[in-house]
């Protein structure tokens, strides 16, 4: 039987780090369900094959810009920097228009901005659309950085800390199980069946 202080340390690590990452686990669990069932996806197709209509833009406004003469991507990046809109500039949405204007989209969890820079590059029109709490949930899944967002620095810290906590909980949980006498057989059976089932399913989807 290992020394009691070691077990007490393992329990404290598992307990307090588990409490620290509990909300993070809930966010990831709920967002995973949303992805798997296509909840809150945008029009244009989603993973479950269902199409959900987008909401009408909730806000519209225009801003004067300092015009630059550069390729479309650099123009879009310059415009976004001047607008100070927080979010990821989705390069695949960049569309030079026939009249010389340029449209692109910037997204962040729960919201996206459709930006139209006029042909002269001296002004931009922004349409902001909210995607609701499901959009926030989906957007947070995997988010670790958001350009032009002070908040995202704290979220990155929270993400890395939670991941560290999860890995520590996995390790400490495994060690705590290893020290058990009771339920050890059941635990090994669960682990074995789970591993075999997971391997079989992985093999099947690669067919």
């Amino acid at each position: 039987m290992p020394p009691r202080p070691a077990r007490r340390w393992l329990l404290h690590i598992h307990l307090y780090l588990g409490l620290a990452c509990a909300p993070y686990l809930v966010i990831y669990g709920l967002s995973s369900l949303a992805f798997n069932h296509g909840w809150g996806s945008e029009a244009g197709g989603d993973e479950a094959g269902e199409v959900t209509a987008t909401s009408p833009p909730s806000e519209r406004w225009s801003v004067a810009l300092e015009a630059i003469a550069k390729p479309p991507l650099q123009r879009a990046q310059s415009a976004r920097a001047q607008l100070g809109v927080a979010g990821d500039l989705q390069a695949w949405t960049l569309r030079p228009q026939a009249d010389g204007s340029l449209t692109f989209r910037v997204t962040r969890p729960g919201r996206h901005y459709d930006v139209t820079v006029d042909a002269s590059g001296s002004s931009a029109e922004i349409q902001a659309t909210r995607s609701g709490w499901l959009g926030v949930l989906r957007g947070l899944h995997g988010l670790h950085h958001l350009p032009y967002s002070i908040w995202s620095r704290s979220w990155a810290f929270y993400t890395y800390g939670s991941l560290l906590a999860i890995v520590s909980c996995l390790a400490s949980g495994g060690l705590l199980f290893w020290q058990l006498r009771r339920d050890r057989g059941l635990g090994f059976a669960a682990f074995g069946l789970g591993a075999a089932g997971s391997a079989a399913m992985l093999f099947a989807i690669f067919l």
Partner: protein, 196 residues
């Protein structure tokens, strides 16, 4: 009750450890491995179209086109798209992690053009992480059930862990840690959903 919850917390973790580890690794590759060079290889081949298909053109049914692509030409993966195009042509796209298969069925000249795109290990892992949804072959449905099980497990870990702490210890340190983390998560969520 406490024993049952503790046992559930433990057994669920052990049973799903493999899948959860897979999602951790593939998620990390998605987020931090974008710069990793992952070569893509492709091939294109043309094969004759069965006469029966040429005559019936699948009766205009996307499922027939998908079935032909899968059963006759051995297209691997899950059919994501099967659409009819002008002049008796069909376009079928199937995907599985690491492989994109595209087949164009042309009834006019009686050929099927099959294009395969194979991705490198980094993109394959990323696609494995994003492979979900209740559609496709029964084995894909089983996979979707496994994805749901992993998602529910995360929620159950958190809920059961908090419950066990509340019933067995309920100390100030744990309370502060939980309250702080929860407050930050809820505040972030609210700001993103409702804020300017």
């Amino acid at each position: 009750m406490l024993t049952w919850i503790r046992r559930t917390h433990m057994l669920m973790g052990l049973a799903l450890a493999g899948l959860l580890a897979m999602y951790t690794v593939t998620g990390a590759v998605m987020v931090w491995g974008r710069r990793w060079n992952s070569p893509v290889t492709g091939s294109v081949q043309a094969r004759p179209l069965p006469d029966s298909w040429r005559r019936a053109q699948g009766d205009g049914n996307p499922d027939s086109a998908a079935a032909l692509a899968r059963d006759h030409y051995g297209l691997a993966g899950r059919v994501d798209e099967a659409r009819r195009e002008p002049e008796g042509r069909w376009h079928v796209i199937a995907r599985r992690p690491g492989l994109r298969s595209e087949i164009r069925l042309d009834s006019r000249n009686g050929t099927a053009t099959i294009a395969l795109q194979r991705d490198g290990w980094a993109r394959t892992l990323a696609q494995l992480h994003q492979f979900f949804g209740y559609r496709g072959h029964p084995r894909h449905i089983v996979w979707a059930v496994a994805v749901d099980a992993c998602a529910l497990a995360l929620i159950i870990f958190a809920a059961s862990g908090v419950y066990l702490w509340w019933r067995l210890k309920r100390d100030a340190i744990g309370g502060l840690v939980l309250a702080g983390s929860t407050l930050y998560a809820v505040a972030s969520f609210a700001w993103l959903a409702l804020g300017p």
